[in-house]
Amino acid sequence: MYLYEYQAKKVVGEAGIPIPINRLALNPEEAKKAVEEINKPSAVKAQVRAGGRGKAGLIKLVETPQEAYSSAQEIFGKVHHGETVEKVLVEEKLDVAKELYVSVILDTYQAKPLVLISAEGGVDIEEVAAKNPEAIIKVPIDPLEKLVLEHRWLEAWGKAGLEGKVLTQAANITGKLLDLFYKIDAFTVEINPLVITKDGKVIAADSKVIVDDSSLYRHPELHDFKDLSTNPFEARAREIGVSYVPISDEGYIGIIAGGAGLSMATMDAVFEYGGVPAAFIDLGGGITEEGMAESLKLMLKTEGMKGIIINVFGGINNCEIMARGVERVYREGKPQIPIVVKMRGHSQDEGWAILQKLDIPIIKYGTTDEAIKLLLSKVENGKEGLQ
């Protein structure tokens, strides 16, 4: 789960890390009030996930509450990479003396948290890593270690050239950031820039937080931040307990598959043989008859759909149950587009029997490629009849 800026700031601030004074505003009037309260030159920042907000005119510096009102009026409702601006964060402008960088990321290869520290903040850290790798200090953490204390961060920031009160503040913030990383099951907690103000305070000016979705069951405090996708198909899939992944707006082939690997391989095959997939549904494990039926209905409803491939195995799932799910949809009305099923595994004979009664072509022994080629030929042949 990728948190919005205002959510990430809330989490970072609650971890005891100093953040700029800010207010979330849902309309221009609130943005105006926010600057009145902050009583300082401020920034009005659109809350969208994609980068490049500055260039897109979605961050405005304002001096007065009235300016905040008019800037917010401009920003609200704008669409940025498919996302409509519905919230703005109004935030005090800091008097920046210097910009630092600090993050804790999950080093999945080493299976350890990795703390990254740099005196060169405010820019893309990957650029720093490419141009001047020794400007980044990497501190790997042993996840079995019970206590990781502040001297580690004093040492690292000392190496980065900090001293005096700025050093102790930065070290303290780093310790809190690691605690936060563990506490919220994060993939990434990043502060960039970590600002030293002209009066010597160290403040997390911007932060990025990504949390492990699998851990959300134990984080009721993050439930408000749950990514309620604006895509109704993704939302419906979540209710069913499967995942719906849109692929291309121009797509017309739907993929229902078991497992992310097979879903992607099926998507690849569709492209490979000249088709364009619209979306895939990954059924995951433990799919029920109803879940299968609802998944198929959802895919059928996807705009522009011309053919569906169901590419599943009876492994952790069961062929008979999945076939019954398909059957249930057919009972409510035979779909008007071609459907091809490739299915094998536990209870395959029972599953095949059900599908055969429905006149659905089944690839019993071939590869995914064969199934896709069959489907695409059916879509091609049926074009005139269906349009």
Partner: protein, 302 residues
């Protein structure tokens, strides 16, 4: 003798009294798997299909020799079950469960390394040595009765896909292992390759990767540094994935150009691996190699 498991491997199932545990215990027993015990706290003293159930691994270990544990408990309980198995020094611990919090896997992996325990998974379909034994949920009739090709895959269903097609074409598989689709996993491609290098039953290895992460790149680096001595094929799912899109697995994230299918395939090809553009292509390439090595032997199943 196969790698990791064989006909003598004595297995316990942690979570045997759950729905999945009970179902797959039965499937494994039917395959002749030596399941010596099941573990469910609070259900000690009961039985599942005649398999004795204990409250703790320690108690089971006081009554049975244990080589291997399969963890099939719900995600919130995986940490506890895995740590228990590791503290009891069960040599191999396979975690089938999906949606395990990644921080939990991180802890498990580090603790296992400290204790000299092998972890496989989480989020894997398991491991099978066809005709000998299996520890997992794979439908065994798709895996035939043996062969000379090993498959190691991040995706369970792509194991089924490739193993079944190799079986149908009469080539067969020596062993198939799902290493799991999560960002952190216990046993990597490199770990598997190191074991397969010395496996007398395996003459070729199929690696099935996905976009995201750098495990395939690490495998390529490993293959460049050793004289592996066996044929290696590779397929990477997600070649056409839109950049930045999360593709089901948490591990399958393309992030700023790292972990793309193209990058992985290039590295693997450079390391001498035969790379395939699709499943069909993969199966065909293995078949071609097989026919060249053992002309006229193949009898297709279907």
């Amino acid at each position: 003798m196969s790698i990791i498991i064989n006909e003598d491997t004595r297995i316990i199932i942690q979570g045997i009294t759950g729905k999945q545990g009970t179902y797959h215990a039965k499937k494994m027993l039917e395959y002749g798997v030596k399941i010596v015990a099941g573990i469910t706290p609070g259900k000690g003293g009961t039985e599942v299909h005649g398999i004795p159930v204990y409250d703790t691994v320690r108690e089971a270990a006081s009554h049975h020799s244990i080589d291997f544990s399969i963890i099939m408990v719900p995600a919130p309980f995986v940490l506890g079950a895995a740590v228990e198995a590791i503290e009891n020094k069960i040599p191999t611990v396979l975690i089938l469960t999906e949606h395990v919090p990644v921080h939990d896997t991180m802890y498990i992996k580090n603790l296992a390394e400290k204790n000299g325990v092998r972890v496989i998974g989480p989020n894997t379909m398991g491991i099978i040595a066809p005709g000998k034994t299996k520890a997992g949920v794979m439908p065994v009739f798709l895996y035939g009765n043996g062969g000379k090709v090993a498959i190691v895959s991040r995706s369970g269903t792509l194991c089924h896909e490739s193993a079944s097609n190799l079986t149908f074409r009469g080539i067969g598989v020596s062993m198939v292992m799902g290493i799991g689709g999560d960002p952190i996993i216990g046993t990597s491609f490199v770990d598997a390759l190191k074991l397969l290098k010395d496996d007398p039953e395996t003459e070729a290895v199929v690696l099935i990767g996905e976009i995201g992460g750098s495990r395939e790149e690490a495998a390529a680096e490993y293959l460049e540094t050793v004289d592996f001595g066996k044929k290696v094929f590779a397929f990477i799912a997600g070649r056409y994935a839109p950049p930045g899109k999360k593709m089901g697995h948490a591990g399958a994230i393309i992030d700023k150009g790292v972990g793309t299918a193209a990058a992985k395939l290039e590295k693997l090809a450079k390391a001498g691996v035969t790379v395939a553009g699709s499943i069909e292509d993969l199966i065909q390439k293995v078949e071609d190699w097989y026919n060249a090595k053992y002309p006229g032997e193949l009898k297709k199943f279907a």
